[in-house]
Structure formats: C-alpha cells, structure tokens
Subunit: 135 residues, 2 copies
Amino acid sequence: MREALGIHILIEFYECDPETLKSVNNIEKTFLKAADEAGAKVVTSNFHQFQPYGVSGVVVIEESHFTIHTWPEHNYAAVDLFYCDPSVDGDKAIKVIKDALKSKNFSTMELKRGTFVSYADTVENKEQFVEKETA
Amino acid sequence: MREALGIHILIEFYECDPETLKSVNNIEKTFLKAADEAGAKVVTSNFHQFQPYGVSGVVVIEESHFTIHTWPEHNYAAVDLFYCDPSVDGDKAIKVIKDALKSKNFSTMELKRGTFVSYADTVENKEQFVEKETA
C-alpha cells in the first residue's frame, strides 16, 4: 500500500428527503454528530442557508475537513470527508449522514491525497522504491 | 456531456515553498485572492494554524467551497475547488495558488458531482434520456 498524507472520501447522496436538505439546523446538527461519532476533533464550523433553498456546511476538524452542499430540488447532497488521521472513522460519519438525509441511493469514492509517488525519500517505504530503482 | 450540479477540482501541489505553507497569513491572503480572481463570491472563511506547523483553510463561497491543507514538512498542499456555477474560473484560482506556493510540481483532477445518471427526470436533458430509452 502506498503511503498517503490524507484520506478523502467523496460521497454522492441521491434520493434524499428534500425537507431535511432544506434545513440548515438539521444539516448542522447532523454534521456535528457525524464528526463526533467519527472521532474527529472539531475546530470550527460554518453552515449557511441559501435562497430559495440549499445548505452549505463546512466543519474544520483538526484532522482536515468535512463539507456538505445540498440541492433539495434534486434530492441530492454532495459530501466530502477529508482526514489525515487514520483514527478518524469515516464510515461512522457516513452512516450518521445517510440516516439523517434518508438517502435511498448513495455512492462513495475514496482517494488518497499526498501520495508522493516520485518522492520516495519523504515516505516510509523509501527502501522499497530504492530497491526497485537499482534492481 | 452529462449534466452535473457541481465541478470539483482536486489539486495536489508538490514541491512547494515550505515557509509559505507554514504561514496562515500567506495562505489566507492567497486563498481570498484566488476566490476573487476566480469570480467566486465569498460568504465566509476560516484559516487555522496548527502546531508544530501546517495550515487548514476553508473559504465558503456562494458557489460551494475552496479548501486547503498544508504539510510544510513534505512541501505539500492539498487543495479542493468545488463550485456549482460555471462562471467561476477554477483555472484562475489554481494559477494564483500555484504561484503563491511556488509549487514546482502539481496535478489536478476534475470531477463532476451530482450527475444523476439514473435519474433522468431530475435533469435538464430529460428528453435526451427518454429518447434513448424508447429508441
């Protein structure tokens, strides 16, 4: 496995309950609960209600960030969970958010951020890269 | 082209100037300039200095968000630009950030968020999908 500085999970929540997606209070409560259950340490958060509808929310955590943007008119929310500490449990956050949004259809994609493919001297498996180069 | 609600550009900035990555003031100034030059409307922003080093920054824009996390010890920064209005010019933001970080090596990946492959009735090109289904 290649070393990475951060894990980034992108989640597409389709077929959500539109009333939940419209409520900035619901979204904020859900997101702070998700961060808590995931074991993330919240630094600050901002949630905004847009007109005529839609919510944007950002939770800055010590381990990076959680974000959400909702489109109630499409029953859709885009969520990102980015964290640099493997003790954060993204799956627990996803479950909290999915249940709150009542999403009947969702997909996730997990990316590694900061993988340093070309910079073996900055990662733990330096020897492995060096061996390959000199083999 | 498939319709999408949002554009999400993920950028890996390698080989940056570590002193710039350490400075929360520099990062904040750079990010607000990037949002401005991209034509994004800033709602609020938060930037945090971590100990012993590293900066996290979030700019909530009316069109979604810009985020950054820096690892000065690896000369690396992870940047995300997420926007739901095609009038926002992500490339202009990338140029501002790249120049400020003095990144000698970077990569970008552009994703569509909210594409509704299976939910043709919620997107503008409904007729196109229906035609295909009945052809």
